[in-house]
Symmetry: none
Subunit: 182 residues, 4 copies
DNA sequence: GGGTAACCGAGACGGTACGTCCCGTCTTGAA
DNA sequence: TTCAAGACGGGACGTACCGTCTCGGTTACCC
């Protein structure tokens, strides 16, 4: 049943977005009674929270190519692929749909903390290999690389192809080396 | 009356986000009848569209410091300031709240087209000054600079202070020069 | 619309009794939206209250045969006929369905006050004619005559035929005269 | 446990009436699981049926004063006292709450049959003593005496004091003797 | 300067979804 | 075997907003 509700939530979220996500609709799609969802999850937000937790837990394997450049390129492509998938798009755009004090925002903080914790080893390995100076701000580096992809997808709708993604990686690496910024 | 409705929409949007934006609430705040809003605007989305058009039209003046670095730094700081303002935050996060085929998405495309058209002269001036090679993709450059700021605010909630903003500018400029990427 | 809702309420009440009277059912029968009933009436009790008010207002004409015996007999037969009609049965049994402090009870007090006020002239005319001593308690007299009919119908289900009704009248008249009780 | 459930049913019935009598509420009050009530009784109606059976079985002792007048007066006072007790009021008003074809009605028929069977010897003794003609309709006599009390309590809310009760008895006795009606 | 058209306030309505309460059924595990 | 514990499908509750409609009253414009 849990799986059916999750699948139904994804489907409904993909079709109608965070607005238009109706508990009754999810219940009907999942072949489950509305009350059951309120009992076991507790509302629209909890349904999405459940999806996010599942997504943050499993996710894709962190790439390990041997070089920071290769890792970042593969990782950013993973992110790009995830963002353009309609199901994930709807899920992630939900995170930005609430004000900073909403319960969705709290949800988002947890999600992002888990997400960055999973990606951080990639940078730490590069430090161990001597590719980056010790003390580099791993999170800021990731934000700088992933940010343009994220913005391109959710903002102006830029075509985020492989060339763009690799450009993000190379520019940040070169720029970081040149400016010495962390 | 138009002004009152706009102000009420901003207030309601800031308080409750795109969800929770109720036409009746806006009407009550503005001291206007619900019917009038449906007549003159046409629904929740149209209220937000009106705000976005107004925002895209006026906005802040494009900085002109004489150097690309200075322009981009000032511009990105403007963007940062705009994003952290609650009213704008709610307004802009609304754009990402719909699926790619929703009417909100169409709205977003228009908004971003106008926004980038307003910012593009900044890059073109740099080309004229010889700071950038002719044929550089102005939009991609802007996305690369602004993206991390946007992502930091709407995503993990990174502290986007002046140092971070200037880092975005310098890294992209240095990286672009080093890699020759457009 | 008001008429349709009233008719639907009577039908639903007759079929399922006070319990089982569902607002949604009434709305569906009347071809009206549920919300409209909540707006214009305000719930199950209000629907019944509306029926009672209508019933108390119109009702049947008070008999005027020229003698107290004839009046009471005709009146009690009217009451009997009303009680055995399924629609009225359900409506009136509703009055007894709540505790003495429920809102139904308050409703009942108003109904009975109106009902007795309408019947009282019958007794007063008899006093004017000299058939009854001045100062007789009209309400108590009516209760004594009507009570067995009411109880017979709502209680043990006694066969309340014309003979029984007329017996109620004659016994009370004779007994009242013999004992001098008011 | 049976006793606890019965007590809880009486309490709940007194507080909230037949409507508002929730099995879950009774179970919680009795410290018993909901399922148990459904197994051992079988629903709301069965709970009330159980109470009625118990009430019909035990009840108060039938008065035996030596005269019909004394017996009827004592009996009717007992009835009056029972009716005004909130617990009994709620229980008995339940009987009238259903349509004539409901299962509550069937329940009521059984209850009244038992009740009248218990009271009938009072009249039969009077016949044996010669106070009443043989062949008098005992049930009708009881209905005539008790009816006004019942109606006064459940209907208009008449003050049913001892004087009223005794009036009912005397008038019916005198009237019956005068008219010769059974 | 008076008709007329446009606009607004007011409010009722059909409708969807909300989140809750209680129903009656079922399964599982402990006594 | 009986009961406690608790999940579930289900029906109705009463509420909030949605978007539409009709009705009057004002304003303003144009003949």
């Amino acid at each position: 049943m849990t799986a059916a509700v999750r699948a139904a939530t994804v489907a409904a979220l993909t079709e109608h977005g965070w607005n238009g996500l109706a508990v009754e609709d999810v219940a009907a799609r999942a072949g489950v009674n509305k009350t059951t969802i309120y009992r076991r999850w507790g509302g629209r937000e909890a349904l999405v929270a459940d999806l996010l937790l599942a997504a943050a837990d499993q996710g894709t394997a962190l790439p390990d190519t041997g070089t920071l450049r290769g890792d970042l390129a593969a990782f950013t492509r993973q992110v790009r692929d995830a963002l353009v998938a309609p199901a994930n798009r709807a899920l992630l755009s939900t995170l930005a749909a609430g004000g900073p004090d909403s319960s969705l925002a709290e949800l988002g903080r947890g999600y992002w903390a888990a997400r960055f914790a999973r990606a951080r080893p990639m940078v730490e390995r590069a430090v161990d290999r001597g590719e980056l100076a010790a003390g580099v701000d791993a999170d800021a580096l990731i934000v700088r690389v992933v940010g343009p992809v994220w913005f391109g997808v959710f903002g102006p709708g830029t075509a985020v192809d492989d060339a763009f993604v690799e450009g993000c990686v190379e520019i940040v690496l070169a720029g970081t080396a040149a400016t010495g910024r962390r």
